[in-house]
């Protein structure tokens, strides 16, 4: 039994989600190899080698891996898949894109977004927007798994001293090519890594009004999130969406302003440690999951809160 864990990184640093997925991998078995793929990612591989419980690091660098194209990344993973019983990755937009490709090429199923490891073959995963938890067993020789990072504690980023081996990058598939990126620039913490999140919904009313949330977020060192309605209305970019089909978060503090609490939104944040809801409708479903609810107008509450903190 051996596990290949695909690292999540931003090109220079290992993402905290990798450490959460590493914990899941450790629960599966102790023989763990981390694969770091990208254009120029030696520093990430060196960081992965320091993580506790990592036996080996595979470093694959090349132009074909620069933009996480699933066609190329899946070929890379496939080129070493034969050595492993488990291929795991933290659930993110790269792994969601590439891992099912790997599974199909291996003619196996995929376990998406697991939240618990019960044994090396049995896992739990949420279904129906987290309104049910399925216990599933894989019958396949190779288990392809994405891990919900929010459900696992982070493994230690130090204490290891794994060897780094290089792996040849695959040839470009010639089927798809990168055109351009429009990435959101922000000085604030990443949503999925943040300890505190200040989130806004349709009730915030406009993109400009999000400045009120940003002011509070800056006071708290928090990330800013949003509901689908806020994203669809063009207040904020898509990468801020929290929910069943957006980002899954579990910070120690989640503050929801002008969010009604639809099941799809709750699916993305209901495992937060402490939830605060501010809504002018006292019947809003968000209050059913909030530890602290304040019925009121967010345009009054936000400035007062920011000032008094």
């Amino acid at each position: 039994m051996a596990t290949l864990l695909i690292a999540e990184h931003n090109g220079t640093e290992l993402a905290p989600a990798t450490l959460s997925a590493l914990t899941a991998a450790q629960q599966v078995g102790s023989d763990i190899t981390v694969l770091v793929a990208g254009a120029n990612v030696k520093a990430v591989a060196d960081a992965a080698a320091q993580c506790s419980g990592v036996g080996k690091v595979l470093l694959a660098e090349g132009d074909s891996l620069a933009y996480d194209l699933a066609e190329n990344l899946s070929e890379l993973i496939l080129s070493v898949a034969g050595d492993y019983s488990h291929i795991m990755a933290p659930s993110n937009s790269v792994s969601k894109d590439a891992m099912p490709r790997v599974a199909a090429l291996l003619d196996v199923g995929q376990l998406s977004d697991i939240t618990a490891v019960l044994s090396d073959v049995q896992f739990q995963r949420p279904i129906y927007a987290g309104n049910a938890i399925a216990t599933v067993t894989s019958n396949d020789a190779v288990k392809v798994i994405t891990v919900r990072a929010a459900a696992f504690d982070k493994a230690a980023a130090t204490g290891g001293s794994a060897a780094v081996e290089t792996l040849a990058a695959p040839a470009d598939s010639g089927l798809s090519s990168w055109v351009n990126d429009e990435l959101t620039q922000s000085e604030r913490p990443e949503l999925t890594a943040a300890e505190r999140i200040v989130s806004g919904g349709r009730g915030v009313g406009s993109g400009e009004n999000f400045a009120l949330l940003e002011a509070l977020a800056d006071k708290l060192g928090a990330a800013v999130g949003a509901s689908r309605a806020a994203v669809d209305s063009g207040f904020v970019p898509n990468d801020m969406q929290v929910g069943q089909t957006g980002k899954i978060v579990a910070p120690s503090l989640y503050m929801a302003f002008g969010i009604s609490g639809a099941i799809q939104h709750l699916a993305g944040m209901k495992d937060s440690k402490v939830i605060v809801a501010v809504n002018k409708d006292e019947e809003a479903p968000i209050f059913q999951v909030a530890d602290y609810g304040l019925v009121g107008d967010l345009f009054d509450v936000l400035p007062e809160l920011t000032e008094k903190l």
């Binding site: 998406s112 279904i127 399925a134 216990t135 351009n180 708290l220």
Partner: protein
Amino acid sequence: MKVLVGVKRVIDYNVKVRVKSDNTDVDLSNTKMAINPFCEIAVEEAIRLKEAGIATEVIAVSVGSSASQEQLRTAMALGADRAILVETEDTAEPLTVAKTFAKLMADEGAELVILGKQSIDSDNNQVGQMLAALTKRPQGTFASNVSVESGHVAVTREIDGGLRTVKLALPAIVTTDLRLNEPRFAKLPDIMKAKRKPLETKTFADLGVEVKQHIQLDKVEAPAARQGGVKVGSVDELIQKLKDEAKVI
């Protein structure tokens, strides 16, 4: 260009599912069912391609129980030209669905397949990517914009850091995200007309698709319920609670 679109029958997104008391599965008896919202977006995108003169034919495909005919009729009322139901009473796994689409894609000579990025029941997010792998074709997942050019399709994808545009050689597979379009509603005359559009029923055996059980469902449970909290009366009280009780600020 022929376009295949996936249509899955799922629980209506407004309905909160209940778990069966024997924990074998969720209870869908007497539950309102609908087209998976992401599939609805896929159907809309295909119809727009037809209206733009790019798609010549839109074929809606469902893998599911005979009741899925209802969702296929809806897709045809929205504008799909015909439909294929690959009928199975058992829940089909994503890989089986992908194999089915791979076969139909070849049989129909489809150049573009548009699927939802995930279904809101099993939340797997797998079929489009698996289909692309099986057919050795490129994929544009989580699409918020699709533009077909000669021999290519440019897809803007919603990724964790923002948006990324990729160019795919056709044939290609696209999976939809929420911002791709806003689906239309079916009009009554179109609902009537859809009843006369062709709906073909096939089986996995007809298509030569092998069905294997890769993942076995052992148990389904309700999630741990969150304790309802308290209402605070003022900002001051909120700050005091967060500091002294929850100790999070």
